[in-house]
Every structure is written in C-alpha cells, then in structure tokens.
C-alpha cells in the first residue's frame, strides 16, 4: 500500500496504459506543457513526447472528433475535456458520431475512444465550470458512462475502458482530485459493469455516485450514531445502470434515497426512482426520496454554492423523513 491521491491514481492509470500499448495517446486542452488544468497529466509530456501527449486548439468539437477518427483508425485515444460544461461543444461528435457509428455501420466500425472530463461543483468555479451533466450522457445509447469515486476506481476504470470496443466517457468529479488515501501497489483494472455496496446497512438504501459518495458515506456514519444503519450504493457505472444491485438492496431495506449532484428534473436520480417503481414497488415502505442540486445554475458565492449542492445534513434529513 502506498499513500496517493485521486489525481495521481488517474495519472498512474494513463501512464501505465501508454507504456503498455503504443496505440494509446492523450489529447486535450493544456494536457501537455501545462500538465492539464487539474494537473492530471503533469510530467507525461516529458515522459512520452509531444506525439503521444498532444495539446489541442480550443475546439472541443475538433479534438473530440479527431479522437473519434483516430479510434476508428485503430488507435486508442484518451481525450480529456476540461469540464463537462465544455463537452457540450463536442456533444455532436459524441452523440452523432461516437455513439452511432457502430450501429450505422452495421457493426463494421468500432470507436474505442475514452473521453475523460471533470464534472461537478464545490470549488467556486461558477456556473460555466461546475455542472454535473453526466446524467445527460447516461441518456445516450451506444456509449458507456463511468463515474469513479474512489482511488481504486480512478486507478482501475481507465484500463478497462480502453479495452472496451465502444466509446466510454469517464466523469471525474473535480472535488475528488485531491482525495488522498492508501492504494494497493498492485492496484489495476476493475470491472465497469456493476455498482458497489460501499457500506452495508438494513434500514435504508442510499444510492449515489461520484462526488456525492463521500458526503453520503459521512451521512451514513452520522445516521449510524442514531441507530440507523444505511446501505450505501456507489453506482460507479451510470450507463448501463446495475439495476440488480440497487433492487437487491431495496428489497433488503425497503426504503431508498437517491443522492445525485445533478438537477432533479429529468435526471439520473429520476431514472433510478422510476426503475425502483418498476421493479420493486411492492418492497417499498416509504416513498423514494431524492437529494439533488437546487435547480439553479451553480452559484459562485461560497455560501450559495454550498446551499445549492447536496450536503450531509440534507441527506440525513431525507433519511429521517423516510423513517417517519
């Protein structure tokens, strides 16, 4: 075991992939000389050279499209987008090309591209850098959407994603890059097709992912102090969703609260609630609740930003309301 951070874990994953496979290269805004806007790729330019760590013009549509083309041509590109807000400029490439080409070519063409981007709020970066749009991407058939929330997943999801013959989007919560902890020296690839139970409990199921996982775990600890054992599920993969793990937990606890930093309306949280209704209605002992971000552009002011996001207190209160 060694001490590391989420940022270092992602970097280690990229480095290992580039060392192991000459087809892998990294491309994005400021990933080379500047080392990445979140310093994830610091040092990689020196190690691998400008051919494999490529700074791009400020055109998301162009470099994501280039990544898709390279993937189609047999490369294994890792494309970094600064934040998911900016990814909307590349939405056409992602949705109309990356997600569709396998289908439209009758299975003849694969797009083994991996697109990484930062998501989420909490660092006073204001509305144009702070939104959580992974739920939108989870709407799109043809791609996979991952949300690593732990050091293990930050280290292990990338290699598995690169193995995937289809486009994989990885949403790294900006608030997690400094997350520090112990990681096994031999940590490596992890599966990307299932959710994980991060904490076992029997009174209520808390379903969450990404940056909200740690708040949810803290809320669960607080609830345990009140005698309420909450089960915490980390979705890990937002598309396709692992229904089985969610339903197994709901069948055990009979209550569910979804914690999602996305907005409530038409959200991933809404989708999970709907699936619980479809598959486990008769197991429920209380209406499923959601803790989501306030439906406003994420504010810049610190106290307002705090108020707009799901917080431990809100999660605890939602669980208490479930229990009557």
């Amino acid at each position: 075991m060694s001490r590391t951070t989420y940022r270092e874990a992602v970097r280690a994953a990229i480095r290992e992939a580039m060392q192991g496979d000459p087809r892998v290269f990294l491309m994005g805004e400021d990933v080379g000389a500047y080392g990445g806007c979140y310093a994830v790729s610091m040092g990689l330019l020196d190690e691998f050279g400008a051919d494999r760590v490529r700074d791009t013009p400020l055109s998301e549509s162009a470099f994501v499209g280039a990544g898709i083309g390279a993937a189609m041509g047999g490369q294994r590109p890792i494309v970094e987008i600064m934040t998911c807000n900016f990814s909307l400029l590349a939405l056409d490439q992602i949705m109309n090309n990356a997600a569709t080409i396998r289908h439209m070519s009758g299975g003849q063409l694969s797009i083994p591209v991996v697109i990484r981007m930062a998501t989420g709020a909490g660092r006073q970066l204001a509305a144009q850098h702070s939104h959580s749009l992974e739920g939108w991407y989870a709407h799109i058939p043809g791609i996979k959407v991952l949300a690593p929330a732990t050091l293990e997943d930050a280290r292990g999801m990338l290699p598995t994603a690169l193995e995937d013959p289809d486009p994989v989007l990885i949403f790294e919560h900006a608030g997690l890059y400094n997350l520090a902890g112990e990681l096994a020296d031999d940590a490596g690839a992890v599966p990307i097709d299932r959710a994980a139970v991060r904490r076992a409990g029997d009174r209520v199921t808390l379903v969450t992912y990404g940056g909200s996982l740690h708040k949810t775990l803290e809320a669960a600890e607080r609830l345990a102090g009140e005698g309420v054992e909450a089960e915490v599920i980390d979705l890990r993969t937002l598309r396709p969703l692992d229904d089985a793990t969610i339903m197994a937990s709901v069948r055990k606890t009979h209550r569910a609260v979804i914690v999602d930093e996305g907005w409530r309306s038409g959200s991933l949280a809404a989708e999970i609630v709907a699936r619980i209704m479809e598959q486990a209605l008769y197991e429920l002992d209380a209406p499923v609740a959601r803790v989501c971000s306030a439906e406003v552009p994420i504010p810049y002011a610190k106290h307002l930003e705090h108020a707009a996001l799901p917080q431990v207190e809100g999660i605890v209160a939602a669980v208490r309301a479930q229990l009557g």
């Binding site: 009979h254 008769y282 197991e283 429920l284 002992d285 209380a286 209406p287 309301a321 479930q322 009557g324």
Partner: protein, 536 residues
C-alpha cells in the same frame, strides 16, 4: 325530475356531456372528463366537438358559473351523509352522466339538434332513443353496473379484495368476478348478467358500501334490463342503497364547482396512506388496514405497523364474526314475531332404509342422515311457500326456488348459513355431495356471494353430538328456520308395543307476520310423513 333549467350554462354543459357521451367513444368521454376535472370545468380549452359558432356561446359560463357553484342551487343536490370509505373515483364518470340524467326532460330536443351535426352523434342518439321513450336516468347508457352485493342483512359495506376480471373481459351470468371481504370472510362475488366489463370503478382494498357500484358492464342485449343493476334482482337490500348512493354520487359538486377541483385532494385526504410493501404484507397476512395507525412518513402505514397488527389480531377476528351474528340475531328478535312448534317423530324407518341403501352402494355414494332430513324439508316446502321466502318492505316475498340455508359452525368459532341451491331437486347422492361441498367451502372461506344471499329458509341441525332439540332464531329477512336435534334412542310405542326406537325432534321457528301455527304444524307432519317412506 328537474326539468326547470334556469341556468343556460348548465344546459349547455349537459348537452356537451351528452354529446361526448353519444358521439364519441368511451375513451373520448373519459378523456373529456379528466380534462374537465383538471381544468376546473373550463371546457373552452378542451378538444371541442361543437362547431365554432357554439363554442363562443360556451365561453361566458364555462369558467364562471360552474365554478361559482350555481349547480348547488339545483334541486335534489344535497348529498346524503355517507361512509367515509366510499370510492370517489367511481363517481367521476357518473357525476356527468347523473347530471345529464337529472335534466333528462329537456336535453333531448336541443341535444338532438346538436347531435345532428355529428354523424356519429346522431347515430348514437338514435340508438339511445330506441331504448325506449324519453331518455330517463338509467336509459342513457346501455350499461349495467355491478354493485356491492348485500351478503347478509346486516352487511353495510365490504372491502373489495381482488378483481378476477379486467376491463374488456367477457363475463357470463354466474361468473365469479371479484372477491369481497366481509365480516363473514372472503366471498366470491358473482355477476348476474352476461356482458363485457367496461370499467372497474373500485381499486382493490377499498371499502365499499352495499349497493355502491363496483364495475360497469356493457351488456349484450341493451334492452330495458340494461338499466337494472347487474346484481341479483332478488336482493332487496341492495336496491335502495344503490339508488341512494347513486343520488349522492350524481349530486356532484356539493359546493359548486369547487368540488371537482377539490375532488382529488379530498380523496387523498380520506384514503389511508399505506406503503406498497405494507399493503402487500397486509394482504398476505390477511390483516385489515382499516383503522390501523400509521407510524411511517406522513402517518403512513408501514410494514411494521401491519406486522404489529397481525400479532395483535387473534383476539380481534372472531369478535367481528360474533358482532355480525349479534347484529343479525338482535334484529331478528327485535323485528320478527317468532312462534315455535316442536314435533318428535320416529326416524327408525328412514334410518333403516338409509342403512340398507348405504350397504348396497359404493362408499362414495353413501350419505349421512342429514341429507335425508334436508331432502325431506325441501320437498315439503314445495307445499308450504309461506315458509320459504323473505320479508321485505313490509311484505312477504315468496321464493320461487327452494334454496335452503344450512347452518355451518366454523372451526374457529362463529357460524355461517350458506344457501344450498335447489335443495328439493336431484338425487339424495347429489344433495349430500352439495352439502359436503358447501360445508367444506364455508370452513375454507370459499363461499360464493349468491350462497350468502339466496337462502330462503335455514335448517340448523345439531348432528349426533348435540341435545334433543333446539329452537332457532330466524335469519332476517327469511321467515322461518327449521331445527333438528340429535337422533336419540327413546322408548316409543309402535303398534301398541313399547320399543326402543331412534327418534328425532324437529322444531320450527316462524314469522307470525307471514304464517300461522296451524298450517305450519302440518308442515312438520308432512316432513315426518316424507321420512316414513324415504325411498318414495
């Protein structure tokens, strides 16, 4: 009937409703209704079947008058106070139909004029008019209703537990369509008309008063009978309750237009909050959700509450049966002037005949003496119609068929007296099979609704473990009950000599409003006579 229409808005409204009803499909009408509901009856915004010219006419009243509650001033609008559990959803559609019907005297002329503008509407209108004469309340729809049957004189309501049919299903007379939970247990409810289920009006686990509609039925022969309730016409109790409930239903907005807007919230307020898991668990455990205190969010009933109730139950259940028996018997003793006859006679010839018969036939065809007794009583009743029927509305209604209620004591206390249909017909073997089947199902809570309501007289027999005689209390609205004591061996004079013979004591408790002791005595004699020659 309120033919006086002083509010032009209402008239339009009624015509609109009828037009929808007549010119469109069921689905259209339903959509219309939901829309009107959601919009607080602002009809201007709905898909409009009227030509543009008339649409303008609607505008002035549509949003104002209806909402302001002018309808509350219309005659016969006061709703009857009623049980809180009445299913409001059932009324949604019928509010409109009932409203239309109330103004039935005057809608036809303008209605026809409007309907002429729509080919389908005209056809439908003509079809409706063919149903007979001026459009009356129930004739408006070639529809019948399945109502909550009265499964005992003292039943006021029942809980619909399960539907055995779905909308669109074809049903035949006598088919079991639903299960209703009463004080007497779960009863299968039969339908009494052929047709197609149009709409289920009541959700499972809803308590429904006797006579309230449960489902609408599209009948194949949409003649006059379409207006009759689909439940048995023999059910006198159901009829008044049904019409009262219809009156309450059709009275619609008691506070004017606000009612419809308040419709949903008030329904939500009345309906107990029960979590889906609690509901499922309650039905698995057979726990009644009524009156259960909820400890979940917003006072909802949770699975824990149901489990607590299930644990507390054993003492509660028999007492509800006991209460039902008590209510029925109290009413009987309060209202029915009983008189009692008793007759002891020699059963030896009948028993010897039976023993000889049983020795000759296969085991499956052997019968117990009780079958002989029931058979004899049933056949004797053919000659004494005044003992077989019901006291209803201050008059005796003889039963055209001899359906005999058999008192069956239940293993966990209490008793029921389901009807053995046509007890005077068929062979002894068949009769005995019927008795066995009925007893078994009574104890397994699998009786059918007709078996609860059809009995026209009751027979109660103590079997071989009892005492010499019993005097029964008449089960209202029946007018007589026959009691048989145990068969006992007694010294008996036969042909001038004393012999040990097996004798039985038969009693009759009868309603003096209907019959007299003189003729009823001959009834007892007739039973004895039949039993002297059992093979005949």
């Amino acid at each position: 009937m309120a033919s006086r229409i002083d509010d032009r808005g209402i008239e339009y409204r009624v015509r609109r409703v009828l037009l929808w009803q007549l010119s469109g499909s069921e689905a259209q009408a339903q959509r219309f209704h939901e829309e009107a509901d959601a919009l607080g009856f602002d009809l201007r915004r709905g898909p409009d079947p009227l030509p543009a010219g008339q649409r303008e006419d609607l505008a002035p009243w549509a949003s104002s008058r209806w909402r302001r509650g002018r309808l509350a001033e219309a005659p016969r609008r006061r709703p009857r106070a009623r049980a809180s559990g009445r299913p409001r959803s059932a009324g949604k559609w019928r509010d409109l139909v009932g409203l239309a019907a109330r103004f039935g005297g005057s809608w036809s002329r303008p209605g026809r004029a409007i309907a002429r503008q729509s080919r389908a509407g005209a056809d439908a209108l003509a079809h409706t008019l063919r149903l007979g004469g001026p459009p009356g309340r129930a004739k408006l729809l070639p529809m019948a209703q399945l109502t909550m049957p009265s499964l005992g004189a003292d039943m006021e309501s029942g809980v619909l537990v399960e539907w055995m049919v779905a909308p669109g299903d074809e049903v035949r007379r006598g088919q079991v369509v639903a299960v209703v939970e009463t004080d007497k247990g779960a009863i299968d409810v039969e339908i009494f008309q052929d047709g197609v289920i149009e709409e289920l009006l009541v959700e499972p686990d809803t308590e429904v008063p006797v006579g309230a509609p449960l489902a609408r039925l599209r009948t194949s022969g949409d003649e006059a009978e379409a207006s009759e309730p689909a439940t048995s016409p023999e059910r006198a109790e159901a009829t008044p309750a049904a019409s009262e409930s219809t009156a309450a239903e059709t009275s619609g907005p008691e506070n004017g237009g606000a009612e419809t807007a308040a419709h949903v919230p008030s329904e939500a307020a009345e309906r107990a909050k029960v979590s889906p898991r609690a509901r499922k668990l309650a039905s698995e455990l057979g726990v009644s959700l009524r009156g259960l205190a909820g400890t979940g969010p917003q006072g909802s009933i949770t699975a824990d509450d149901v489990q607590r109730a299930a644990k507390a139950r054993p003492s509660a259940e028999p007492s509800s049966m006991r209460a039902a028996i008590g209510a029925s018997m109290s009413r009987s003793k309060r209202e029915i002037p009983h008189y009692y006859l008793r007759h002891t006679f020699d059963l030896e010839p009948a028993l010897r005949w039976l023993e000889a018969r049983n020795a000759e036939v296969s085991v499956s065809e052997r019968v117990l003496p009780v079958a002989l007794l029931v058979h004899a009583v049933a056949r004797a009743l053919r000659e004494f119609p005044e003992l077989c029927g019901w006291w209803r509305d201050e008059a005796f209604v003889p039963s055209p068929r001899i359906h005999v209620g058999l008192a069956v004591s239940l293993r966990d206390g209490g008793l029921v007296a389901p009807a053995l249909h046509h007890a005077d017909q068929g062979t002894l073997t068949e009769l005995f099979a019927g008795i066995r089947d009925l007893t078994k199902r009574a104890r397994a809570n699998q009786l059918r609704s007709s078996e609860f309501s059809d009995a026209a007289i009751t027979i109660t027999s103590l079997g071989d473990q009892g005492v010499e005689s019993l005097y029964g209390v008449i089960v209202p609205p029946q007018v007589a009950i026959v009691g048989f004591g145990s068969i006992v061996v007694r010294p008996w004079v036969v042909d001038g000599r004393i012999e040990a013979r097996r004798v039985i004591t038969m009693t009759l408790s009868a309603d003096h409003r209907v019959s007299d002791g003189h003729r009823s005595g001959r009834f007892l004699r007739r039973v004895e006579q039949i039993l002297q020659e059992p093979g005949a």
